[in-house]
């Protein structure tokens, strides 16, 4: 059974996971702010700050390198993290990138995890033909060449975020399904499940009301692993130009920045890299901590 209060308290007690939690909350705040900005400018049909082109202020270095009044004319806009090739604010674009990263992380998880949970529970609980079908489906999808298959789905679904959601979501449910299936199989033999069956509860109720809460930690761990992986994959796909179109995703920013890196415009690349790195690192670390805490099977990995 997951006690979310207890988990957060235990994660908060350690200094390293506390930093990871704070970082994730900060990113979440940035993503929410980005969403608000995006929505506001969409409803008011105005140019959002991250798309505001200022031709006269291209490649302005970050604010702390070039304070207003030194080198720049009076009344120049302040760029905390510099500006890009069209004079757009890198900070604003980074925040929009965070928004897209959270969209991708959450929506792909919303596709992959329910799919994996449903199939894993059914296969593990029913056994027999249903299980054989689930195992077959898992084996089939698992033998596809990962990234290329995601790219193919994204290409067929059409360039854009929908393609990314479907591509990542429809390929990554396999690991969730396999873990959950094994765990549900173990629980099927437990006394509490047999008692529920004796009481005449429906199979549906036994699976989703009795077994699922007991294996929910696997779902939580799966989410904490899937989220950073999806974000990293989205960066890769958008970098290749198959993903997000016309919005400042981190992958697109890297692709823009790399062309001017050779001319010494380092800030855009550095800050995007840092933004991705810190988010993924925080999530990876949190995933490790959660796994150590919640999964007894993997606890041997932790050193006493």
């Amino acid at each position: 059974m997951i006690d979310s209060n207890n988990i957060v308290r235990r994660l908060w007690r350690r200094w390293d996971t506390r930093i990871a939690l704070v970082a994730i909350v900060l990113y979440l705040g940035a993503a929410l702010y980005g969403e608000a900005v995006y929505r506001w400018h969409k409803t008011h049909d105005s140019t959002a700050p991250y798309n505001l082109v200022r031709d006269q202020y291209r490649y302005v270095p970050p604010g702390f390198f070039n304070p207003v009044g030194r080198g720049l004319p009076e009344g120049a806009p302040f760029y905390p993290l510099g500006s890009d090739n069209l004079g757009r604010d890198v900070l604003q674009r980074l925040i929009q990138g965070t928004r897209i990263a959270f969209h991708v992380g959450i929506i792909t998880s919303l596709i992959a995890i329910p799919l994996g949970v449903l199939l894993g529970c059914l296969g593990g609980y029913c056994g027999g033909r249903v299980d054989a079908f689930v195992v077959w489906l898992c084996a089939t999808v698992a033998s596809m060449p990962g990234l290329l298959f995601i790219l193919a789905i994204a290409m067929i679904a059409g360039r854009g975020l929908t393609g990314i959601y479907l591509g990542i979501g429809l390929t990554t449910w396999v690991s969730v399904c396999r873990n959950l299936r094994g765990e549900v199989m173990k629980h099927r033999e437990h006394a509490y499940v047999q008692a529920a069956r004796m009481l005449g509860y429906s199979h549906f109720r036994i699976i989703f009301r009795h077994i699922l809460p007991n294996v929910a930690h696997i779902v939580l761990i799966a989410f904490s692993i899937r989220f950073p992986a999806s974000v990293a994959t989205e960066v890769f796909i958008s970098f290749l130009g198959i993903g997000v179109q016309g919005e400042p995703s981190w992958g697109i920013m890297i692709n823009n920045a790399r062309l001017r890196l050779w001319q010494g415009v380092w800030w855009e690349m550095t800050f995007v890299t840092l933004a991705i790195f810190v988010l993924v690192l925080a999530f990876n670390h949190l995933a490790d901590a959660l796994r150590d805490m919640l999964d007894p099977a993997l606890r041997s990995e932790k050193i006493q």
């Binding site: 077959w136 084996a139 089939t140 060449p145 290409m155 290749l240 890299t273 790195f277 690192l281």
Partner: protein, 411 residues
């Protein structure tokens, strides 16, 4: 052993079939009609139908006797034109129906036939007591006008009869794959098999060193971690590998190329001319995967460290080094080999980003180009090849296990 081999082959069959079915559904059904992909959006319905007939795309998808025809396009029964003279509804045909057996869900049909050789016209009226009108267009004739009665209030459907229920697109697709026919690239107009043959070599020259180097380095670091478990060496390696794991792959490639090749000029930047050109991509490949590998190998080795035989060996007074390399390493090789063998099939499909950024003409850069130019045939071929290789390598790994370990084949 013989029984195990047969059993293992039988287990492989449904998965292979699943792979073929999944790729078929993804590329040939969801991906849109291949005829429209090849001929473009502005092709006439007749040209599309001719293309379909030639490549057997006019067959039912997976199983069945009837399949829809292209002649009938975007029709809803409410908008049918009414023919006053015969008091029947006009079925809009995109082109003259060629020879074949057709089924129309109407109670009565009126056909205007035309002999193609001399434009001789003929007319036939067919009454159907049952649900649908079935008519045959003889060889050398085509239907130029089709009127139907009793179609009001339902969706019109005009279907062509197939020679056999198993003679379908999917079966044709599987057969052509088994013959080694992966289709022709829409971008380069050459058979895909040739593109794959040319690309496998460069891909392997990149991925084999990455796999071997990455595994050796990873196992060594994993052993170090396990030997000093809980100590500072273990902690440092673990923290560093988590950090390495969190660096995006794109960044690895860009930073490696920019800093090591462009700024420090240690390696050539781009090209595929000598071994020197491969050093940097191989290094990047190894280090980008190292974090995950080390963590996995460390966990695999630690699983063994606490087993009783290790304690026995310690009690007998063996040195720590000897226990680690002779006893623990050997036993932990099983998960390690499984882990490594699962990445062997993807060596053939190459590394997408490394190849296109370092100008290595392997299957990775071929795939990227194909995706950028929407060359579905090439993407499909590489996906299928990767998946089939996966099946084969899995089979070989399992057979090796069974050969090495009697418990596997007897259980």
């Amino acid at each position: 052993m013989k029984h195990y081999i047969i059993h293992r082959f039988l287990v492989m069959l449904p998965t292979t079939m699943g792979v073929l079915l999944l790729t078929f559904l993804l590329f040939n059904v969801v991906g849109g009609s291949p005829a429209e992909v090849v001929l473009g959006k502005n092709a006439t319905a007749e040209a599309l139908a001719v293309f379909d007939a030639r490549h057997k795309y006019d067959m039912p998808l997976i199983l069945g006797r009837w399949s829809g025809v292209r002649a009938l396009q975007n029709v809803s029964s409410t908008r049918l034109k009414f023919d006053r003279r015969s008091a029947m509804a006009e079925v809009p045909l995109g082109y003259g129906l060629p020879a074949g057996i057709y089924r129309l869900n109407a109670s009565r049909a009126f056909l205007s036939l035309r002999r193609i050789a001399d434009n001789f016209d003929d007319e036939v009226m067919i009454d159907a007591p049952g649900e649908a009108v079935v008519f045959t267009v003889p060889r050398g004739w085509k239907v130029v006008r089709l009127l139907a009665d009793g179609v009001a209030g339902r969706n019109l459907s005009l279907e062509q009869k197939n020679s056999a229920w198993w003679d379908t697109q999917f079966v044709h697709y599987v057969c052509s794959l088994f013959r080694g026919d992966f289709g022709v690239s829409t971008e380069y107009r050459v058979p895909v098999t040739r593109i794959i043959k040319e690309g496998v070599g460069p891909s392997l020259s990149l991925t084999i060193p990455i796999l071997v180097g990455g595994t050796l380095l990873g196992v060594m670091l994993g052993l170090l971690c396990a030997a000093w478990r809980g100590g500072w060496v273990d902690h440092v390696i673990l923290v560093v590998s988590t950090i390495l794991m969190s660096v995006n792959y794109v960044i690895w490639v860009l930073a490696g190329q920019f800093i090591l090749a462009f700024k420090l000029k240690l390696f050539p930047i781009w090209g595929y001319e000598s071994t020197a050109y491969l050093v940097l991509p191989v290094l990047i490949g190894i280090f980008s995967g190292l974090g995950r590998d080390v963590r996995f190998f460390r966990a695999a080795i630690l699983d063994e460290v606490y087993k009783p035989y290790v304690r026995t060996a310690q009690a007998k007074g063996l040195s720590g080094m000897r226990i680690m390399t002779r006893h623990v390493l050997r036993n932990s090789l099983i998960p390690v080999i499984t882990y490594v063998s699962l990445s062997i099939p993807f060596m053939f499909t190459g590394s997408l980003l490394l190849e296109s950024f370092f100008g290595i003409p392997g299957l990775g850069s071929v795939s990227i180009n194909a995706i950028n130019s929407s060359d579905m045939v090439v993407v499909r071929a590489i996906v299928i090849m990767g998946a089939l290789f996966y099946q084969v390598v899995n089979l070989i790994t399992d057979l090796c296990y069974a050969w090495l370990d009697p418990r596997v084949r007897l259980s």
